[in-house]
């Protein structure tokens, strides 16, 4: 996400609008309270939607910066928990191997 040359927002503006709308819905309030015991905050989605529209209309550098920071923060928030297990560098070698019973039957 460098200069405005070939850059476009991380999500289409419609996606930010849909997320903001979902966040503000009664259903989401209920789900969020059920999980977290508190009301949701939807302000960031609204800000991102405004920035996205700003970019589309005026190619605003501030809007670009704001969107990048927002998405980066989301990614970091998703990764901040310590891992219980070691990630693999490659998938399990036996995932695609045929079942032993099938081999015997053939």
């Amino acid at each position: 996400m460098a200069d405005g040359g070939g850059w476009r927002p991380p999500r289409p503006c419609e996606a930010y609008r849909a997320e903001w709308k979902l966040c503000r819905s009664a259903g989401h309030f209920l789900h969020h309270y059920y999980v977290h015991g508190e009301r949701p905050t939807c302000e960031q989605w609204r800000r991102d939607l405004m920035s996205c529209r700003d970019w589309e209309e005026r190619r605003s550098a501030d809007a670009q910066r704001s969107l990048c920071e927002s998405e980066r923060a989301r990614v970091q928030a998703a990764q901040k928990h310590a891992l219980v297990w070691t990630p693999r560098q490659s998938p399990p070698t036996d995932w695609h191997l045929p079942l032993l019973q099938e081999e015997k039957d053939e």
Partner: protein, 248 residues
């Protein structure tokens, strides 16, 4: 060697909301290491059932096909697994079988196969949830070195994630189980169901299972991969799938 399941769904089907009784049933039959021992004896379980219409096996196969083709939770998980190098093949990686007890399904890490208990899954919504739950285990198996058989904390982590992200603990499902609670009840449900699942597949005490869940809960409850969020219903799952497809 006996086939043992890494993770299982230790629950009664939804239309029999037995609440505390379900847990009792599971505790009474607590021989988790032998729950799936009949798998070996059955060989190819499909033989002999195809002669009658609407057998449990056929129903299971049909419901599974519908789930794989239409359910947004499952479609996201299938995409994520393919992305991680574990493309899922229905015939290779799924098996509809009869199971003892109340268990709905399990993931067999030693054969990379998801077992669906055809005698305990009676409707499409339940099938959707079982497949989602077990695919989360399969996804964890694919992306990380999960010591299913030797590290109860690893098992606990995957069970927390599966209970959290599959819809097992949705408000509606908990109401059907006669577990009433609202504020943060989801987390209570996830803890309880993770413990039940561990007890169903491992010969450990409730205290050991609970301790493992407590130790990993903070980390694993907040690990929402590949969804990026807790998918409370199909709308959230569809949004999550869209985000996953755009993540690059």
């Amino acid at each position: 060697a006996a086939v043992r399941f890494a993770g299982g769904m230790a629950e009664a089907p939804d239309e029999r909301p037995q609440g505390p009784a379900a847990e009792e049933q599971l505790q009474q039959q607590r021989v988790p290491c032998q729950v799936f021992s009949e798998r070996q004896a059955q060989g190819k379980p499909q033989q002999g059932f195809l002669s009658s219409f609407f057998s449990n096996n056929q129903k299971c196969q049909l419901m599974l096909l519908k789930t794989l083709q239409t359910n947004p939770y499952v479609k996201l998980l299938l995409d994520a697994m393919k992305h991680s190098g574990c493309a899922v093949n229905r015939e290779r990686h799924f098996s509809c079988e009869d199971c003892s007890g109340n268990v709905s399904g399990g993931f067999d890490a030693s054969t990379s196969q998801i077992v669906l208990c055809q005698n305990n899954i009676s409707n499409q919504a339940h099938m959707n949830r079982v497949v989602t739950h077990e695919l989360i285990h399969a996804f964890d198996h694919c992306r990380a070195h999960v010591n299913w058989f030797t590290n109860v904390k690893h098992l606990a982590c995957s069970e927390v994630r599966a209970a959290n992200l599959s819809g097992d603990c949705s408000l509606i499902n908990e109401i059907f189980r006669l577990h009433f609670g609202l504020k943060q009840h989801h987390q209570t449900c996830v803890r309880d169901r993770a413990i039940l699942s561990i007890l169903a597949v491992r010969n450990v005490s409730r205290e050991v299972a609970q301790k493992a869940v407590d130790e990993v809960f903070e980390s694993c409850f907040n690990d929402h991969e590949p969804f990026g969020r807790i998918p409370h219903n199909k709308t959230y799952a569809r949004y999550a799938h869209r985000d996953f497809q755009n993540r690059d």
